[in-house]
């Protein structure tokens, strides 16, 4: 029998904002875009009282809670906080499975002699997160993932709920079937039509009937309903590609602006490649056109190019992606642009190349990248960035102004 914990930050983005800005404390805070297209990324508990939920359109959130303070959100800051929090998680067990920036499974099996009983260990984990980041985390402890996740949700805000192996069935039985992963509105309606409302009723349903209702997935759902969830905590999944993308607030057709964004994405991708010690040979450009196909559907264009040498250099990635943009011959505005690098290989253990195009120059750039990475690690991300045409123009202008004053 395993001991798993599901740790989930309470209203993570909103809590970070409230922590950093005292004026926001005690007020309904919504993190997310204000624009017509914006969605709620996170809502503080004060805002949730009005029915504001994450993933809800901002327009609707504003209607529900006119007093809410909208904050644009700073993903970089959240990622930094997330890194600190996961470091704390890893003090308790190396088996930490990251589900998102603010949510993780921890496998605490066999840690009792070191950390004490799981409820005490989880309480200590919550105290340490609170003390070091000022943020609240809720946790559920159970023998299987599904139950741990439901328990952490039930423990919110700022609580712990432990479900012992013997209590699993009693805990699950009264809950609505929709709490099981994979049972969405359609399956729920189908089950309800047959009088199956709770997880307990689903657990007791016979196989033939389930197969009829939900197909082979029905049997799996019933197993989950009985608290049988064989999924293990997977500490790390090796990524097959590294990508960055963004949706514009307004549709963009200016190639210079697109190229600027591509450059920024390439920088971010390259930095992550270098951080993880990998390089990639295939560069992909992803474009979502502004022309609408139907509700929420837009034509997606992806273009890829495979290069002779694997790279982790932003300039190389950006130039490949810009070339793809030119070749794509875009004549309609774009609402989303993304850059990804795949066909990864380890940067160490590298086969050296005989003719590496300007191998001297490449070596120099790679050393430069390393230094820039070190500076950014020490002084914070984006302390040092590669100059773009616009930033050079701006710098030249300000230099002129200064000289004029002298």
């Amino acid at each position: 029998m395993r001991t798993l914990a599901h740790a989930d930050m309470d209203a993570f983005f909103a809590s970070v904002e409230q922590r950093d800005d005292p004026r926001l404390r005690g007020r309904p805070v919504v993190v997310g875009g204000r624009s017509a297209r914006g969605v709620v990324a996170a809502a503080s508990y004060e805002a949730r009282r009005y029915g504001v939920r994450s993933a809800m359109p901002s327009v609707q959130a504003r209607k529900l809670c006119p007093d809410a303070v909208f904050v644009r959100g700073d993903m970089r800051k959240y990622a930094r906080e997330s890194g600190r929090i996961f470091e704390i998680f890893r003090r308790f067990t190396p088996l930490v499975e990251r589900l998102s920036l603010d949510e993780a499974f921890l496998d605490l099996t066999g840690t009792e002699r070191l950390l004490g009983p799981p409820d005490a260990a989880v309480e200590r984990l919550r105290r340490e997160v609170r003390a070091e980041t000022g943020l609240a985390v809720s946790a559920g402890v159970a023998p299987v993932k599904l139950v741990a996740k439901i328990a952490s949700d039930a423990a919110k805000p700022d609580g712990v709920l432990c479900v012992a192996p013997a209590q699993v069935r009693a805990f699950l039985d009264p809950l609505p079937v929709g709490r099981i992963w994979g049972i969405g509105p359609v399956a729920r309606a189908r089950l309800q039509a047959c009088g199956i409302e709770t997880i307990g009723e689903l657990a007791r349903c016979d196989d033939a009937r389930l197969r009829e209702l939900l197909g082979s997935w029905g049997l799996e759902a019933a197993r989950l309903a009985r608290g049988e969830d064989a999924r293990e905590v997977e500490p790390y999944r090796e990524p097959k590609s590294y990508g960055e993308e963004n949706t514009f607030a307004d549709d963009v057709s200016d190639p210079r602006r697109l190229e600027g964004v591509i450059r920024a994405h390439a920088e971010a991708v390259a930095r992550r490649l270098r951080r993880d010690g990998v390089r990639g040979r295939c560069v992909t450009l992803k474009l979502k056109l502004a022309r609408r196909l139907g509700a929420g559907r837009y034509p997606l264009r992806t273009r890829s190019t495979t290069r002779p040498l694997a790279t982790d250099d932003a300039a190389e990635i950006a130039s490949a992606a810009r070339e793809l943009l030119r070749r794509a011959g875009m004549d309609t505005p774009v609402r989303l642009v993304g850059v990804a690098v795949s066909r990864l290989e380890a940067a160490a253990d590298a086969q050296l190349d005989l003719f590496e195009a300007g191998s001297e120059a490449r070596g120099r750039r790679s050393r430069l990248n390393r230094v820039v990475d070190q500076i950014n690690q020490r002084f914070g991300e984006d302390s040092m960035v590669r100059a773009s045409a616009e930033s050079v123009e701006r710098a030249a202008l300000s230099l002129q102004i200064k000289r004029g004053r002298e």
Binding site: P308, L352, L354
Partner: protein, 368 residues
């Protein structure tokens, strides 16, 4: 068209073109062989537009004419025929009858008018070359060509004339390079600028070398390399690209020089590489007093090492290579001993047969 041809003659003619015809091509006719019959002979042609071949075979021709048939299927059929002669004639516009012994086939054909015309040898100057020499030069280099389409200029063998009536063949995939240079009985002027012959063309030339003992002729047509022997003309389109300046990366000096028994080194690398990581196939090449140690380690498997005694007395020297590259180059050589020349850990390593100064192979190390 109506003719009769020896079954074995036809089978050999069809066998030769199997690797040339296009299999999954966009143009269906390129999967066909074209047969042109005129007094006393039939000419078989096949091409994928990159490599083309025309070969003349003796036949009893009753009525001249031309036809194209699926090359693979016709080959399979002729292989299974047990008569000594095969009779072919056009039934109607779209069908050809093939008859041998008591077996009879009626096959669909495509009009020969649609068949592309192949480069000819009219007006081309040819130079004679022993087929054994040509075969050897190909064997020493072809393995090192690149299959990476993003490096299309490396997808073939570079052939260039050198001083003193010599011709060199060079192939590289960017990680390793092989070069061989041989003296020819007459100068090959058309190779002065150098040409890149694609892998497939070189492989077909190599096959013809086995078929023909004695001299072959090579010449340069408009964008094609031509190979000629009596009754046969092979053409290979050239790679339209620039071969990298390989001379620039050829090591001109070394700090370490070893002489190693080739077979011994080959077996050691093959054995030790069994535990090398699947993806990189990297092994360590470590020199210490009087010995060369081949090492490999794999986090999922374990480690392996083997020592060879060598004449070395310098400081400990350690570098790494891809086992596939090392085995390829050792396998392409035939000398009993190889000379290994090294400069620094990350500099190109040079291997050459101890008995042949005209041949060299270079591999770039791995950073391990």
């Amino acid at each position: 068209m109506k003719l009769s041809i020896g079954r074995d003659v036809l089978l050999r003619g069809l066998g030769r073109i199997q690797a040339i015809v296009e299999r999954r091509g966009t143009l269906p006719i390129l999967a066909n062989v074209k047969m042109d019959a005129s007094d006393g002979k039939v000419v078989l042609s096949a091409t994928d537009l990159e490599v083309g071949i025309t070969a003349t075979h003796e036949a009893e021709v009753e009525t001249p004419g031309a036809v194209t048939l699926g090359a693979k299927k016709l080959f399979e059929i002729v292989r299974e025929l047990d008569g000594s002669e095969v009779a072919l004639h056009i039934d109607d516009a779209a069908r050809v009858s093939v008859q041998s012994g008591a077996a009879h086939f009626s096959l669909l054909s495509i009009s020969p008018q649609e068949y592309p015309s192949l480069p000819g040898d009219a007006g081309v100057g040819f130079v004679g070359l022993e087929s054994a020499l040509l075969a050897e030069m190909i064997d020493r280099t072809l393995y090192a060509t690149s299959t990476d389409e993003t490096r299309y200029n490396l997808n073939g063998v570079f052939m260039q004339a050198e001083a003193d009536q010599r011709v060199c063949f060079v192939a590289t995939d960017g990680h390793r390079l092989a070069k061989v240079s041989k003296s020819l009985p007459e100068p090959v002027e058309f190779l002065e600028g150098g040409i890149i012959v694609p892998r497939k063309g070189v492989a077909e030339i190599r096959k013809l070398c086995d078929e023909h003992d004695g001299p072959l002729e090579i010449g340069l047509g408009d964008g094609f390399l031509l190979l000629r022997s009596p009754g046969l003309l092979l053409s290979s389109r050239l790679v339209d690209g620039e071969f990298p300046n390989y001379r620039q990366i050829m090591p001109d000096d070394h700090s370490i020089r070893l002489v190693v028994p080739r077979e011994h080194l080959t077996h050691a690398v093959r054995r030790i590489a069994l535990v090398a990581p699947e993806r990189s196939r990297g092994f360590r090449f470590v020199l210490a007093d009087g010995q060369l140690e081949i090492q490999a380690s794999n986090p999922d498997l374990g480690e392996a090492r083997e020592t060879l005694s060598v004449d070395y007395s310098g400081e400990r020297f350690e570098t790494g290579f891809n086992a596939r590259y090392a085995l390829d180059l050792l396998g392409a050589m035939s000398a009993k001993e190889v000379v290994v020349e090294l400069k620094t850990e990350l500099a190109p390593a040079q291997f050459r047969p101890a008995d042949d100064p005209d041949e060299v192979a270079i591999i770039m190390p791995m950073r391990m």
